[in-house]
């Protein structure tokens, strides 16, 4: 079994864990973290395939895409966090509730 195969299988598991987390977890912060774990799974596929296609060096295009992707994911997570804190500030709720 090759290195890249281990990590590409891991990536599928991480993605599903993150997706389950988005559904199951209630708190805003946990939901945001779950989406980041999903993203980590996607990035892991890219990088493990870059390793598979390596010649003298690993395929640099997926690497560049992943670096870009990480920064964009962080920017959107920061925005989500700002929204979550604003909701908490205005309503005092820290999860989506259907009661009201």
């Amino acid at each position: 079994m090759e290195t890249y195969q281990i990590y590409s299988l891991t990536s599928a598991v991480l993605f599903v864990i993150g997706m389950g987390g988005v559904f199951v977890s209630r708190h805003f912060i946990k939901k945001i973290i779950a989406t980041i774990i999903m993203g980590g799974g996607v990035f892991l596929v890219f990088v493990s395939l870059a390793e598979r296609d390596a010649l003298t060096f690993a395929d640099p295009v997926p690497h560049a895409l992943v670096i870009t992707g990480i920064v964009v994911a962080v920017a959107s997570a920061a925005f989500a966090l700002a929204l979550a804190r604003r909701i908490y500030q205005l309503t005092g709720e820290e999860s989506f509730t259907n009661d009201k």
Partner: protein, 329 residues
């Protein structure tokens, strides 16, 4: 033997992700998230993606972890009236008919399991395309740098990087819009702590130098604008926490300039290249190295400023809220 390390790392990453989501307390979640990011960074080193590993450890684990830690202050250390709320939520959950929750959970588990199988099969059977390694290798001498990832980021796919700077700026503007733009007025009052001052005095030059090194080293090895930007952004966060918020100390136009200079320079450069008859971001090979270094420096300044501003804005939200609570009490 090396396969064993990979398996252990993979299991560790999965375990940390699960623990992170099912930890009972929010503080544990955030700290396990730090650990998860670092485990993922190690996995990337094993896959030969050192640039990605540095970015992950610095931005995704470090910077985002700091934002979450900052957010924890209002979520988990909330005033006592929050606990009553929580108990109400819990009791309403408990009294809700358990059978009504059983079916959705079963459906969710089944769906996730099915999706996992599909994803595993899809990942296992991704066709061998050969990738773009050969193309990148052939054009590397023309790119002006020696490191293939930097070449792709700032030359071959400069368009992506340019738009990414725009996304970061957009993220900053969105957090401004959410929080209301009343920041950078009065510096937060922080007790004059000798230890804090010494930490700031010691780490500011170290972080700056290390960032500059990573920026320059990106030409020939792992490193570059993003990695440097996070280190420089860390200086801004450190200064902000030490009661010296950068954006309220420098003039307003300078702050705005440093936020937009990366995006703006890219845009102007692209315009001049287009006007000169080349395609967008098609650098003349003779000047490519110098141009890339200038772009990287300006982009790093912009990203560092944006990260600092995002942190400062989110941190300020916290302050305003605690002030509000105090005033209502």
């Amino acid at each position: 033997m090396s396969i064993m390390i990979d398996i252990i790392l993979a299991v560790l990453a999965i375990y940390l992700a699960l623990q992170c989501l099912f930890a009972p307390r929010l503080t544990q979640t955030v700290f396990l998230f730090f650990a998860f990011g670092l485990a993922l960074a190690l996995a990337w080193v094993r896959l030969g993606a050192v640039d990605v590993a540095i970015t992950e450890a610095a931005i995704a684990s470090g910077f985002l972890g700091v934002l979450f830690l900052d957010a924890l202050r209002d979520f988990s250390l909330a005033p006592p009236l929050k606990w009553d709320n929580l108990e109400v939520v819990h009791s309403s959950l408990a009294t809700k008919n358990p059978k009504s929750l059983f079916l959705p959970r079963l459906a969710l588990m089944l769906g996730l399991g099915l999706f996992l199988l599909i994803a595993l099969e899809a990942v296992w059977k991704i066709p061998e395309g050969g990738g773009l390694t050969a193309a990148a290798e052939a054009l590397l001498p023309e790119s002006g740098v020696e490191h293939p990832v930097t070449a792709v980021l700032l030359n071959f796919r400069a368009y992506d990087t340019w738009l990414e700077l725009g996304v970061i700026l957009l993220g900053l503007l969105a957090t401004f819009a959410v929080g209301g733009i009343k920041i950078y007025r009065k510096p937060p009052v922080v007790a004059d702590d000798i230890l804090l001052r010494q930490v700031i005095l010691f780490f500011t030059p170290v972080l700056f130098l290390f960032g500059a090194f990573l920026l320059y080293f990106g030409k020939s090895g792992p490193g570059g604008a993003f990695q440097a930007a996070v280190l420089w952004g860390a200086i801004g966060i450190l200064l902000h926490l030490g009661g010296r918020p950068v954006f309220s100390m420098i003039p307003r136009w300078l702050g705005q300039l440093s936020l937009t200079v990366g995006l703006g320079f890219f845009l102007i450069l692209g315009f001049f290249l287009l006007a000169g008859g080349a395609t967008l971001f098609e650098y003349p090979p003779a000047y490519a190295g110098v141009l890339i270094l200038i772009i990287e420096t300006l982009a790093a300044i912009s990203i560092a400023a944006a990260l600092t501003a995002i942190f400062a804005n989110l941190n300020q939200m916290n302050k305003e809220e605690s002030n509000q609570i105090e005033s209502t009490n």
